[in-house]
Symmetry: C2
Subunit: 526 residues, 2 copies
């Protein structure tokens, strides 16, 4: 994974002429690439770990699983938000963890946490490093140093129970590794967020991730049957049964705990046989409100698509859902919706027919398979486009929220207007695009992509816009995050999200499981 861009360098692509044309026409951005510094020119803040601390850590994990080299610290110096990537291009000294440790067992994690609590060293659990909310920022927060605790050695399919349809997966497995291990046995997890290629099982759990197939397979938190967590105060093994009335569900405290309560080492997950059949159908709706009502009908009736999503007029006009055709001639018109159905032939046929009937009744026009397959082809590639846009002088970022169906139009309008006016205040026009990608009986998510021109210091430029948008989300009944999590970036809104007493409850849990406060300081809890 690249240190200063999204992911696999082999998949990076320059801006197409279509996109350059769009940038120039709408935003006045040239698209000419300005190169950042090479990795070996980046200056990291020096490690503050004492030799004695390093020796003690090496004694726990073995010297080969501990590093203070810049080449190891740099890729763990933060996540992949737009401000993160802009910051990486800086030639000033950059924050970085003081060391990287790669434990190989739960016992080693427990020993590392005990040592760090005693020596006042902060610990940032690290999975795929794809956070876009500052979730892995190496914040020292008054501690003597900060350690990046990389979970990649927890990379096993530990058990597969084909009768119960559940698998125990190591927290350090990246999405494709986990799916490959399961596919070899004929099973699938079915969790495909945009971060799929890099993010890990533990990270999905710690951030309440939600994938593109959530309509069919659920959010990641809904797939979790059990969790193992190492905390400084001991080990938790949560989730005895598929459902229980034995008090509060403590799994739900660790799902979304973002490394502040403990280190997730293994997750027991619901899995399903690899689907025998997949069917695709794209749809066009005259406008977003009509399309949203159609998605609502499908979800409230429970017709059963595996994927269902709807792009608004602007996102449809620039072909954003079909990454190979962005900025080219408009492919579909109106508002594009994509549906995918997976399962046995009979099931797929029945679900597809019911969904089709509901979408037709709600004013949809079928576009056939092609646009839905084009969406799937490029489904993980949008972040590569962002890399090219940032290098070409554009400001590009995404943000997301969710609310009830009745509040959806109002929230979408408020966020869009806030983005446009806040960017206008910085001197830039903007292109604001939105889609619904996760539906629930009572509401849906809204995912925004905004492109503007970089003006002045783009990190500060975006910080002001983000502040305004966060306030607009809270004022209009949205959640501060539907699936990106809180990290450092959304922390200012957590008091509003859960109330002051909710915050006190999180602090009480924190004190119980991490009395020294070493785990991922500066994240999640206000």
């Amino acid at each position: 994974m690249k240190w200063d861009a999204w992911g696999d360098p082999a998949l990076a692509k320059p801006l197409s002429e279509d996109i350059k044309g769009l940038l120039a026409a709408v935003l006045g951005v040239s698209g000419e690439v300005v190169a950042g510094p090479a990795a070996d020119k980046v200056v990291l803040r020096p490690s503050t770990l004492a030799d004695d601390d390093l020796k003690a850590l090496a004694a726990i994990v073995g010297a080969s699983w501990l590093s203070t080299r810049d080449a190891d610290r740099l890729p763990r110096s933060g996540g992949k938000s737009t401000p993160d990537l802009l910051r990486r291009k800086s030639r000033e000294p950059q924050d970085a963890p003081d060391a990287v440790v790669l434990p190989g067992s739960e016992e080693e994690i427990a020993a590392v946490l005990a040592l760090c609590a005693e020596r006042r060293i902060a610990v940032v659990p690290f999975g795929g490093g794809t956070s876009v909310v500052g979730g892995v920022d190496p914040i020292r927060a008054g501690f003597t140093a900060v350690l990046s605790l990389d979970m990649r050695r927890f990379d096993q399919l530990l058990t597969l129970d084909e009768v119960s349809g559940e698998a125990v997966l190591g927290a350090g497995l990246a999405g494709p590794q986990a799916e490959a291990l399961l596919a070899a046995r004929g099973y699938e997890l079915g969790h495909y967020p945009q971060s799929f290629r890099f993010a890990t099982i533990g990270g999905f759990a710690a951030t309440r991730s939600s994938g593109q197939d959530s309509a069919g397979y659920g959010r990641f938190d809904e797939m979790v049957r059990g969790l193992r967590v190492i905390t400084p105060a001991g080990i938790l093994d949560l989730g005895r049964a598929p459902a229980s009335a034995a008090g509060p569900d403590l799994r739900e405290l660790f799902l979304g705990s973002e490394g502040v309560f403990g280190v997730i080492t293994a997750v027991r997950l619901r899995v399903h046989p690899l689907p025998a059949v997949r069917e695709f159908e794209a749809w066009s709706f005259p406008d977003f409100a009509t399309g949203a009502a159609a998605l609502r009908a499908v979800e409230q009736q429970g017709t059963g698509p595996t994927v269902i999503r709807l792009s608004d007029e602007t996102e449809t006009a620039v072909n954003l859902a079909m990454t190979d055709q962005i900025g080219g001639t408009q492919v579909t018109g109106g508002c594009l919706a994509v549906t995918v159905f997976e399962g046995d032939a009979e099931q797929v046929a029945a679900r597809h027919a019911l969904t089709r009937a509901a979408l037709l009744a709600a004013g949809g026009t079928s576009l056939g398979e092609a646009p839905a397959r084009a969406w799937e082809h490029g489904r993980f590639n949008a972040p590569y486009l962002r890399d090219a846009l940032l290098a070409g002088g554009a400001l590009c970022e995404t943000l997301e929220t969710a609310t009830g169906w009745a509040q959806l139009d109002g929230l979408k309008a408020a966020v869009s207007q806030t983005l446009q006016s806040a960017l206008q205040d910085t001197g830039s026009a903007s292109l604001v695009m939105c889609h619904i990608s996760h539906v629930y009986p009572t509401g849906a998510s809204l995912y925004f992509t905004v492109v503007a021109a970089q003006q002045g210091e783009p990190i500060e430029q975006w910080a002001g816009v983000k502040h305004a948008v966060g306030d607009a989300i809270m004022a209009n009944g949205g959640t501060i995050s539907h699936h990106h999590a809180v990290g450092a970036d959304h922390r200012p809104w957590m008091d509003q999200e859960i109330g002051e007493l909710g915050t006190r409850i999180l602090r009480a849990v924190k004190d119980a499981v991490d009395p020294a406060g070493i785990l991922n300081p500066g994240k999640l809890i206000p």
Copy 2:
């Protein structure tokens, strides 16, 4: 609701000749009724509340909403477990709350909690009083007195959002009241536990209730979109969005909190339009394992029944699922399964066809509509039978658990054997019956009904059996409760259920929201 039996006195029924025959033949129990004391002969422990406390409480809620009369204390002196009902027949002085208070607003609840915290008075939130796990026992636990806080005045349909498909319901609404208010607007909640006629919206949330239509409409906790809770430390208003990644889901701490963290005043719930069509079909399977595999196939394929349940051989043989025919000539043979489908005509037809195909493929034989309709007709009546059995010298109780599909047969065998041998040790034969009534992709619930002969002191007789069964559940991978909750009775197993650190987390939350510890002492948290 009767103070010494299940519910509506009008629905009480003497034992049929069929049942008497069965009792005599299998258990040697005569079935002759032994009457307990009349209500006015019951002796309650005297109220310890001082005049000054009563004055202060009356100043908050108004004198007419406060009572120390025995007639008000007696019906709130406990729940409806078999030991509860046996205890009510005692002529010794009985535990009871020292007063009953019926607040009319959140402000009054907050003021009552503040007063009680200051004056060291315990508070037991009270809904329908249907707990079968000692959840509303008036335990003083070192406090000067204990107050029953009855929520029945919170009886409004506060809002109905037809677009989002959600309603905010007052916590004190009993099941039928809530459904009637929704039905008048064309909507339904669809939560039908056996306690439906008496239990309340707040109680369903506080105990993680699960109803008979859970396959279609979900467990109660899955219906909850938001909660309002008054705690001694302040008010919580949880659940901004249908789904969120803004940290741990704090709703899940209050679902199942059983009154120990706060008083739930209103619940925002997912509702659906009243179904246009209902279809019924009963099935027979040659044995329980074959039937369980069939239910598993249906749930893992997601064919979509609203109700699906399976009785084992013994339960089927005595017609337990068809309460009007219990003990009579065997109606179906094998293992009876019931399916119900609700929704629009098209949906119902599609789901019924897919479910039918899966059940046929798994070895089921259709029995047509009649046995499924007979089940529905008597679906809430089994507790009345228990009243008659207890009065007739039989011991009758239910208990329930859940586990993964792969562990289901082993858990069922272990619980059955433990019940039989523990009862044998008390000198009684027993009839142990079991059904699956709640299914999940990864597992299912097991619900046991046991009938034996009362021997010696039946309260102690059952206590020993219950202890052995609880241990067997934990040793065989079950949860100590799938939908009855913890209360006082399951508390001894909570350390095993969630681990010692899990218990510490619950205590930390308790300290944060109820620092004086006045709320429902002696319940849930070990």
